[in-house]
Amino acid sequence: MIHNNEVTVSVQNVSKNFKLPHEKNNSIKTIVTGLLKNKEKSFEVQHALKNISFDIKKGEFFGIVGRNGSGKSTLLKILAGIYQPTTGSVKTAGKVVPFIELGVGFNPELTGRENIFLNGALLGFTKKEMTDMYDDIVEFAEIERFMDQKLKNYSSGMQVRLAFAVATRAKAGVLIVDEVLAVGDSDFQKKCFTYFKGIKRSDTTVVFVTHDMNAVREYCDRAVLIEKNEIQKIGDPEEISVAYSKLFSDSSSNKQSEAGKDRWGNKSAEFTEVEVISPVVRADQKDLTIKTRAHVNRDLSGAVVGYNVKNESGTILMGNNSTLLHQKIHELNVGQDVEIEWTIPNIFNAGRYFIDVSFTHENGVDVCDWWKDASSFVVDKEPGNPYSINPEVKMTYKKVG
């Protein structure tokens, strides 16, 4: 909750350069031989951040978004005081606690109880303070029975829950949160959401880094978009999330964008074209069309074609295939091309969506071509709510009695 205009984090003209040596210069031998050869310094300078400035106000929930490699992790580490800026300065009022990596300093050889105290000390709590809040932490993590077991015997889910439970105790002026909303099973996630809702209402300033635009819309008061190591846009989370999504549609206009890695199959038939008409979907568009073209490399019978639509966090929102749609694809012969089109009502909220397509035969047993993230599209509209799908919903209301 923002009370006033008090600034908690002030980032002024921060730039960060990394020197990337061509060969690693960290043994005496390379230094000695390097001196003898008198060769030029062989390193490249990588500009991880260029001239970043912004202020975050007290109690604000501030989002940082950007693509992988944009420099947002470096920015986060500078905010947390782990890296020093090359030029510029970061001023923070109050203690900065990174929620960045849950379970920092956890030791597998110690018991759950011992790890709680260790983790607590890293967060700045005395032994007495930790003893006082110990029961609450254990209760939150829901692992009472395992507290005297060594951490190495914990499942990864239990470890994360324990770490999260300790981290929620952190009394921070500024809390840095990096993609931790999706931990544990759905019951535990509910707790985490409740916790973050509580944080949002409190005085704690939160710096939140994520790829999930729904979360940005739901939680953030303001956000910044980092692209190519610079601030591209700063302000309203709605605008930022649309701008973020557009980054991808720009680069996906050459259709196959970052795809290709997640593709497999025996190539008896393969997609030659997967396209959404048009890749930026406007609010007034009633529906959108996925257009695919495939080439058949040998005679096939019982072919099935299908697609999935996923949101940014990779959750499948919908999908279909020719069998489910009662479309029988007749015998296909070698050398033929087929064109498949799906027309879907435009029920999507603002954001970026990914499409998987599949071509199978023998009624789905034999995969010819399975292509994850074959294409994507961006929906550009005023979001009515923070969720991925927003079909028209009718609601009635009346008082009874």
């Binding site: 990174p98 300093g105 105290f117 260790l118 890293l122 032994k127």
Partner: protein, 274 residues
């Protein structure tokens, strides 16, 4: 004055919490999973002592001229082991905590201090063995034993200084641990731990004087002097009591201040360079 204390308390509050917890953790992990556990803290120096004692006293007869040679030897070994533990541990301390450093900003010197406090507790435990041997060997305790903390504090400070220097250097130069290993091997024999300094003086007084410039040698001899026998040849008895008797102490203080300054100036970049 009270304000200054309060300010210092606030400034180092986090470091103290962290240091305590890390030392406790270090101790819990040290003998994790071993059947005898902490007893090994006592057994390790004891066995080393037995071996060296058999070899050097019974075979080479090195302790003939030294009163209470077994205790004399044990005390030397215990102090040297402490020095070795802190400095060897100090070399890799920062790099070994790289994972943590990349994720959390905290005062880095705490890592080095953890190693030396943890070793110091171990040293105190070892003094139990020394005390037992003093009784068995019939060492009569003098009032001078009360001065024992002085050489111990000097050793504590000097070890930390070296650990700061080596730990910070190792982040950039990964050859340091091998170099330090060799230096320690040589220094073990260049320090009068196994043999009596009088052997060296017989050959060359100059060599003896040179050896005693090493603060660790001066510390070990002083500890033996105050605790075991006033016949022990100390730095002072070798050099006289002029101003130059302060040389080892000056080396310790100047080196430690330089090392801490160097460590401090480098510590902000550890996370990036590891």
């Amino acid at each position: 004055m009270r304000d200054t204390i309060k300010r210092l308390k606030q400034k180092y509050h986090y470091s103290v919490i962290l240091l305590k917890q890390l030392v406790v953790t270090d101790f819990k992990l040290r003998y994790q999973g071993s059947a005898l556990g902490y007893i090994w803290s006592l057994l390790r120096p004891l066995f080393l002592f037995v071996i060296l004692y058999l070899v050097f006293d019974k075979i080479f007869n090195a302790g003939a001229s030294i009163p209470h040679y077994p205790v004399y030897l044990l005390l030397g070994i215990v102090l040297w082991n402490y020095f070795g533990e802190v400095t060897n541990g100090g070399v890799t301390a920062i790099v070994a905590k790289g994972d943590l450093l990349r994720k959390l900003n905290f005062p880095k010197y705490v890592i080095v201090l953890t190693g030396s406090f943890s070793a110091f507790i171990n040293l105190l435990i070892n003094f139990i063995v020394v005390a037992i041997f003093m009784v068995i060997n019939g060492v009569s305790l003098e009032w001078s034993a009360l001065l024992l903390p002085l050489p111990l504090i000097e050793l504590f400070v000097f070890s930390i200084g070296i650990a700061f220097m080596l730990g910070a250097l190792f982040v950039k130069f990964r050859d340091i641990n091998y170099i330090w290993e060799i230096i320690m091997q040589a220094a073990f024999y260049a320090t009068p731990i196994l043999y009596s300094l009088s052997f060296v003086i017989e050959k060359s007084e100059w060599a003896a004087k040179l050896l005693m410039l090493n603060p660790v040698a001066q510390i070990i001899q002083d500890a033996r002097y105050v605790l075991i026998s006033h016949q022990t040849i100390t730095y002072e008895s070798l050099y006289g009591s002029g101003w130059y008797r302060l040389i080892p102490l000056a080396i310790v203080i100047i080196f430690t201040v330089l090392a801490a300054t160097y460590f401090r100036s480098k510590s902000a970049d550890f996370a990036e360079e590891i």
